[in-house]
Symmetry: C2
Subunit: 149 residues, 2 copies
């Protein structure tokens, strides 16, 4: 556990953004927790450490972090957006299985290499054909988890 400035500080400076306490705590929460937090959940978690935090700030910061590419924003169809770390230590590229009954989300990394290769190959061709600059993709499987089927 080496100390030193957290890995994201330089990223903020680079963008010209200020490194504030709320932002650091939100990032910290996201980097510790397992996954897929909603804005409300992030708010709750940050609140324990920094009670003065406002929900508004959480929303703004999550948008900022997503725009910076540090986190990813997902919509799993339950009416609220969810966020998870995409960069930095401890994060790993993965896709999702989403239970349409209980809402459970299963991360899987099986086939990820194959998938990424396949998708980027397709992306490249689509990019050319439609003159479309692809930033990201989303692949998710919907169905029933073992408890709900």
């Amino acid at each position: 556990m080496p100390g030193g400035p957290p890995w994201w500080q330089r990223r903020f400076k680079g963008y010209g953004y200020r490194l504030t306490l709320p932002r650091q705590i939100i990032l910290d929460v996201l980097s510790r927790t397992s996954r897929h937090l909603s804005a409300e959940e992030v708010y709750m978690a940050v609140r324990r450490i920094y009670p003065a935090i406002g929900l508004t700030t959480v929303y703004r910061t999550l948008d900022l972090l997503a725009q910076m590419g540090l986190i990813s924003k997902f919509d799993f169809g339950d009416g609220r957006n969810r966020y998870e770390l995409t960069a930095g230590p401890g994060s790993e590229h993965h896709h999702h299985l989403i239970c349409i009954s209980c809402g459970r989300i299963i991360d899987y990394t099986d086939f990820i290499d194959d998938e990424v290769e396949f998708l980027s190959m397709i992306g490249k061709t689509l990019s050319k054909k439609y003159n479309f600059k692809i930033n990201t993709h989303q692949l998710q499987f919907y169905g029933l988890c073992d408890k709900c089927r």
Copy 2:
């Protein structure tokens, strides 16, 4: 253009649902229009033919049709759900390119066969490993369209 009862009537009977005017018109609108209508847009379109329609009914019917598998519900990230026919004549399996700047949605069918084969192969294995019954998948590419890049 053969007459006869629309292809979906039997589907309704089968489910024990009543075949009402609002439902028929909503389905008709969806089967005529090009694509990706929001509930509001469906409401507007139905209104021209059947002014007494209520927005509530549109939402309820869209949910019903989605549940019946006749239409698919998508969230492209612009804050409203969108619906399109998945079954019946004139519909074709496809995936989407979504412009994160202007919101434009491009349907593509290139590689569809390869994609479906690849995804169902993956799906089959995931299904087994996680004991998860997969109903549908969603694959979408996000980026900038030719006008926005």
